[in-house]
């Protein structure tokens, strides 16, 4: 006898949200409360000792937030999930769950600029070193591993380079060294890629983007597979006695739940970057249409990329959907339903033409976000990546002429109309610059 396996679209609508048992409410109620009364002093003691499940205080857990967490775990194919106030808070939680001062992280270099800063500035100040490895060479990644390395980190689709990570051999490499592979899945979302299916152990993402889908809330979430051997001794934060919990050993006591329990009851509890129940409700609404939205995002992105590649004003396009992309083969393997709707292109005329292009756009919103239902545009060198040094900029693959698009759900003809007008404006500037004016 087999259990029925529900499909992705059904789980996007239902996972984590059965009818409210108390009221019968079909939509997930917003439990906007800071704290929860205990049944008795004994119940309180059991909760604080982590021996029973239940709510104490919304910094550590909340029913509406938990519904979002369970749905994310279901969609990513993980054992469980911990939400946080932002994507950066989620990836920091994942790292602090297994690394401490004196430890080391290996990451691919083509990462979101905020992540690079978090790793190379803030983690460094906390005593956690990070080696960023440029390019797609797995041997170079392996060479960066040290005895004190605790994890390998990458993005499914790199921001803003659009490179696709070769997740399967990367996970095998990590596991051969006793390390987990941590993957930021923000640009793909679980609708297009589920890194755990390829061997990843922890998936983090900014839920602000496609998960929420409407550019309304800042949120992050981590999902863990439940299959990594945390008790091997390589990660003492999980396999040594915890002074915060009467010397309990998370790996021994919670087995496959060790990482998730520590991420919630020590890291989230002490870092304090909790997700609001109101925001969790909005994210649940967003997830209901995630598979439908991602399909439409990809269709529009293909149309826009097809238009741009025919234009003389466009020097290059980095989109793994295009036949001549160096990442086409990897995209076909890991992103068979589409390589998302965020990609970059270069404008002839460089920085000046880029500025003229963005200022001439009417429909595309110039802002620092991606994954909104509305189409977005930005010039990374002057915004998201401006805090990086020239050398770091080159390492993460950002060129001065690069424009990043996040293709939304508008009529594609309207998006193309707007781009065409802006390309003409950029061309005038490019001609002037080219003529030495």
């Amino acid at each position: 006898m087999q259990d029925h396996v529900f499909g992705f679209r059904t789980r996007a609508l239902h996972a984590g949200t059965p009818p409210d048992p108390t009221t019968g409410a079909r939509a997930m109620p917003i439990y906007l409360t800071s704290s929860f009364v205990f049944d008795s002093t004994e119940h309180a003691a059991e909760l604080f000792a982590l021996r029973t499940y239940g709510n104490i205080y919304s910094r550590i857990g909340n029913p509406t937030v938990a519904a979002f967490e369970e749905r994310m775990a279901s969609l990513e194919g993980g054992l469980g999930s911990v939400a946080a106030a932002s994507g950066l808070a989620s990836q920091l939680s994942a790292i602090l769950c297994i690394a401490q001062a004196g430890d080391h992280v290996v990451a691919t270099a083509s990462l979101y600029g905020g992540t690079v800063t978090q790793f190379t500035v803030t983690l460094k100040r906390m005593g956690i070193a990070c080696t960023l490895v440029a390019g797609d060479d797995l041997d170079a990644l392996e060479e960066a591993i040290r005895p004190n390395t605790k994890l390998i980190y990458t993005e499914t689709i790199g921001n803003p380079l659009g490179n696709v990570a070769d997740l399967e051999p990367m996970a095998a490499l990590a596991h051969a060294h006793g390390l987990p592979l941590v993957v930021d899945n923000t640009f793909a979302s679980p609708a297009l890629c589920r890194p755990i299916e390829w061997g990843a152990d922890v998936v983090v993402q900014s839920a602000t983007k496609f998960v929420g889908g409407h550019g309304t809330v800042i949120a992050g979430v981590l999902v863990e597979s439940g299959t990594f051997p945390w008790g091997s001794g390589k990660h003492p934060l999980l396999s040594e006695p915890s002074p915060g919990y009467h010397d309990m050993n998370f790996a021994e006591t919670f087995g496959e739940y060790a990482f998730l329990m520590r991420a919630r009851t020590e890291v989230l509890r002490d870092v304090g970057a909790a997700l609001s129940p109101m925001n969790a409700f909005l994210l649940l609404q967003g997830l209901e249409t995630l598979p439908l939205r991602m399909k439409a995002h990809v269709e529009n992105a293909r149309a826009v990329a097809g238009f741009l590649r025919e234009r003389d004003e466009v020097a290059w396009i980095n989109y793994a959907e295009l036949a001549d992309s160096p990442y086409r083969t990897l995209a076909q393997k890991y992103l068979p339903d589409g390589a998302g709707s965020i990609f970059t292109f270069g404008l002839r005329g460089g920085r000046e033409a880029g500025r003229a292009f963005i200022e001439a756009l009417e429909l595309w919103s110039h802002l620092a976000n991606v994954g909104d239902a509305k189409s977005l545009v930005i010039h990374p060198a002057s915004t998201t990546h401006q805090q990086l040094s020239d050398a770091e900029l080159a390492t993460s693959g950002v060129s001065p002429d690069m424009v990043r698009l996040s293709v939304g759900l508008e009529d594609p003809a309207d998006l193309i109309w707007d781009l065409e007008n802006a390309l003409r404006a950029a061309a005038k500037v490019a001609d002037r610059v080219g003529a030495g004016a």
């Binding site: 006898m1 087999q2 259990d3 529900f6 059904t10 789980r11 239902h14 996972a15 984590g16 059965p18 009818p19 409210d20 048992p21 019968g24 079909r26 004994e42 119940h43 059991e46 000792a49 982590l50 021996r51 029973t52 499940y53 239940g54 709510n55 857990g61 029913p63 937030v65 938990a66 519904a67 967490e69 369970e70 775990a73 279901s74 993980g78 054992l79 469980g80 999930s81 911990v82 939400a83 009467h246 010397d247 309990m248 050993n249 021994e252 006591t253 919670f254 087995g255 496959e256 739940y257 998730l260 329990m261 919630r264």
Partner: protein, 175 residues
Amino acid sequence: MIVETVSGRRDLLARSRTVAMVGASPNPTRPSYFVFSYLRTKGLLDVAPINPATAAIDGVKSYPSLAAYAAECGPPDIVDVFRKAADAPDVTRQAIAVGARAIWFQYGVINDEAIRLADDAGLDVVVDRCLKVESARFDGGLALAGLSSGLISSKRASPPRAAERPRSVEPPPQP
């Protein structure tokens, strides 16, 4: 019968009232104590430790053997096994002898001989699962912790059993 489905485990727990926990430890950092304490305080199952080295855990009498438990309490609905896998066949023979209806092997307690013995004797058999986790899957505990329950349903959950209902100072309204 070997119970391998979510619905099978839900039905097994729903029809069970008593659990004899072989290897329950009074040490509050041990996994078996976490399971014991969870089941005891949740109150949906009557759980008793089977441990000759301790007289009681948290006020619940401990029995030196399954036979001693059955002599006083009758056959247990579930024998929950917290012993190393090599000891599982011996525990299984004792469980069969006292008329247990089901045997539950905790995480890592995987022994083919024990599974076959129990299955042949007509017991329901659960292997490499945690009784606390599976209880929490159906009582909503897992979901509250952000853990995937794997459950999808648009039916309203049945109200908690009488002992779990909130106490009220006023009588319920008359229909």
